[in-house]
């Protein structure tokens, strides 16, 4: 093979040279490209065929031979049969290595499928059981004053729980945002030996079970200091639980801000505070927002600290310092515990509201975390 000369503008050169496709003259490639990523036809037939035969076998076994009606056993037998048929059919044409590969792929995909369908079943189940109260407007704008557990769904609502949850999470955010981000700034921007101590302790305290955080507030604030069970106590309990989480997450976000940006700002003569305020925090803003919102989602759904510290009011309370206050997770818990069918329906509807709230927070966090174009 000869080495062709560099391509020049000249075209009447008799020597063979690199073919340059001119723009506008799209000629189809002479040979169709082989799709390397796609599976050969035979393999696809094996996979779909074994699925089909497994379904038929499972139907015969569970619905005809064994006294195991119902979809649950069908799915289990279907899975087992699918694996069996798949490995036997593969073994007919291929060797053991390929059979192992097939089995591994089946196991991994099935595991993932189980996990994602469990998540889907959770969300679907909650909405399915709870949609009846959701269509009543009073569910959103009334509280449960004077409404018994077995009263019909056009009476009473969860306004008090929604407002209570928002107030409690508001208190928690007002405390944890400055303290958590401030601590993260201290750990990354000031540094030193003391900062390492703080970091170690904060990381250790993320292990604190949320119920123990609630019990701590209960013992110190409610028993020892005589503060009544209230939204304030619940907000503080959530703060105690959230503070290490927010501080640690913000620390992780601030650490990845490139050092060059800080040094450039300092070299231009900015003070350290100006550097933090105008360079470090704006750079880390999407990450910080994500950390905060995921912390809020965690805090708003946490039942155990609230269970101990807030008490459950059936009426709307807007003053967090005065007396008992309800919140969404606590309302769900106490209503389910009553065992009355219609109350359980209310609990599922409340869980749907809570789930929507968390979903919205989650989507906002995702949008903020998306890299800017």
């Amino acid at each position: 093979m000869t080495v062709s000369a560099p391509v020049t503008e000249a075209t009447d050169d008799p020597q063979p040279r690199t073919h340059l496709p001119a723009s506008g003259q799209e000629t189809p490639a002479p040979v169709p490209r082989a799709g390397l990523g796609a599976m050969p036809e035979q393999d696809r037939l094996v996979i779909w065929g074994s699925r089909l035969s497994a379904a038929a076998l499972a139907w015969v076994i569970t619905q005809r031979l064994l006294p195991t009606p119902g979809p649950a056993w069908f799915l289990v037998v279907f899975g087992a049969m699918n694996l069996l048929v798949l490995s036997v059919t593969t073994a007919l044409t291929d060797d053991l290595v390929v059979v192992k590969d097939r089995i591994a792929q089946w196991l991994v995909s099935t595991g993932a499928l189980v996990v994602f369908s469990a998540l889907a079943s959770t969300i679907f189940f909650v909405f399915h059981r709870g949609w009846h109260p959701l269509v009543h407007l009073n569910f959103y704008i009334h509280d449960m004053t004077g409404v018994g557990p077995s009263d019909p769904l056009d009476k009473g609502g969860i306004l008090h729980a929604i407002v209570g949850s928002l107030i409690e999470i508001g208190i928690a955010v007002a405390i944890t945002l400055p303290l958590g981000v401030g601590t993260a700034v201290f750990m990354t921007e000031v540094g030193g030996r003391f900062a390492r101590v703080v970091r170690t302790v904060v990381e250790a305290m993320t292990a604190l079970p949320s119920i123990v955080a609630g019990l701590f507030i209960y013992t110190t604030l409610i028993i020892a200091l005589g503060v009544p069970r209230s939204g304030l106590a619940a907000g503080l309990a959530i703060s105690v639980m959230m503070l290490p989480i927010i501080a640690r997450a913000s620390d992780v976000v601030l650490r990845v801000v490139p050092g060059g940006l800080r040094e450039a700002s300092l070299a231009l003569g900015a003070s350290r505070w100006k550097t933090v305020w105008h360079v470090v925090l704006p750079t880390a803003r999407p990450g910080l927002a994500t950390a905060l919102i995921l912390g809020i989602a965690r805090g708003i759904g946490e039942t155990s600290p609230v269970l101990i510290t807030s008490g459950a009011a059936a009426f709307l309370v807007t003053d967090p310092s005065q007396g008992v206050m309800n919140s969404l997770p606590l309302y769900i818990f106490s209503t389910v515990r009553s065992g009355v069918p219609i109350a359980i329906e209310r609990a599922f509807a409340t869980a749907s509201v809570l789930l929507i709230l968390v979903l919205v927070l989650f989507v906002v966090a995702r949008l903020l975390a998306r890299p800017r174009k």
Partner: protein, 341 residues
């Protein structure tokens, strides 16, 4: 280092008269910078006091507990405030059994999900699947509690009955009832550590899966391609490259999940029926965990019982702390390996 280069760095003025010494550079912040450093040091100190204070407070509360009940607090199974007999042996065993059931579901499933996302899933779905796992972590635990109690429990107790029928000779699968009775006592198979463990597994799974997936995604692409180029099947490549590389992430993620499983309260409280017995029979009704004990007993507790509850919480905190710290060490070690390769 030569003398010349030393002179260049320290003497900005080459013909300075003798006796002039270079300006000393101090790293101590002055003026506004000092205010900044001290303000944030104060914030850090206050957070240290708050978070560390909880640990110290809990530790301090165990003193009266151990003085009153002695070390039998750790070995006594009963929790009877009327009889002044309190102990956490049964609830500790219950906590461990719920957590182990949760991990035995969560470990294989999270490993499979992490492998699926990082190795098998089509590229255009990967980001969505990762978001879904994160979403799963954000779903409140009370929702998983409802799911476990109303949707899973009927199926799980049926499954438990079958396990008891066929594998009842294994001690952990035995239940104190006749497995082959014409009408099996279905209520004996509900409200067990097994059912609670399934709900807890849902909370643990996304956490473990996220850690594992992150470590898998850092596997050097060159080594993966080398394995494939040598003729390995996908599973051969995973077994020889991805899994050994991600071993730290697998162990660390599992332990982080275990730490979460140990402290989970509300789903467990919703599902189990409390019973203070050291019970290896996970399929049978009745067990209790430390956090469910606290949630169930704090209302009637006062004085020494409150201290005892706080001590139980402290013991739980210490166990979680040890598990989490070990997990962090294992995960960090595996990540530092990723950076060098």
């Amino acid at each position: 280092m030569s003398e010349e280069s030393h002179q260049v760095t320290t003497l900005p003025v080459p013909d300075a008269p003798a006796g002039v010494r270079p300006r000393r550079i101090s790293r101590k912040p002055t003026g506004g910078d000092a205010v900044f450093a001290h303000t944030f040091r104060a914030i850090g100190a206050s957070v240290l006091v708050i978070t560390g204070g909880i640990g110290v407070f809990l530790a301090y509360q165990s003193w009266p507990t151990f003085r009153h009940y002695g070390f039998s607090f750790l070995t006594e199974t009963q929790w009877q405030p009327e009889a002044d007999v309190l102990g956490i042996a049964a609830v500790l065993v219950g906590t461990l059994s719920v957590a182990l059931v949760a991990m035995s579901f969560a470990f294989p499933l999270s490993l499979a999900t992490a492998l699926y996302i990082s190795e098998y899933a089509p590229d255009r779905w990967k980001a969505t699947l990762v978001s879904l796992v994160d979403l799963m972590a954000a779903v409140p635990s009370i929702v998983y509690g409802l799911w476990g109690f109303f949707l899973i429990q009927p199926h799980a107790s049926g499954f438990a009955h079958v396990l008891h029928q066929h594998l009842g000779w294994i001690p952990i699968f035995s239940v104190g009832t006749d497995a082959d009775a014409a009408v099996p006592d279905a209520s004996r198979y509900t409200a067990s550590a097994f059912v609670a463990g399934i709900a807890v597994a849902m909370m643990v799974l996304p956490m473990a899966c996220a850690v594992m997936r992150q470590v898998f995604s850092q596997t050097p692409a060159g080594e993966k391609e080398a394995a494939l180029a040598l003729g390995a099947t996908k599973w051969g490549m995973i077994r020889t490259v991805v899994l050994p590389f991600g071993k730290g992430g697998i162990i660390g993620g599992t332990m982080l999940g275990l730490g979460r499983a140990l402290g989970e309260t509300i789903a467990v409280l919703l599902i189990i029926s409390p019973e203070f017995v050291i019970k290896p029979r996970i399929l049978e009704i009745g067990t209790d965990t430390v956090s469910a004990l606290i949630a169930g007993q704090f209302g009637e507790a006062n004085g020494i019982q409150l201290s005892a509850l706080l001590t139980a919480g402290f013991v739980l905190f210490l166990i979680t702390l040890v598990v989490n710290t070990l997990a962090a060490i294992v995960v960090n070690r595996s990540r530092s390996g990723a950076e060098t390769s």
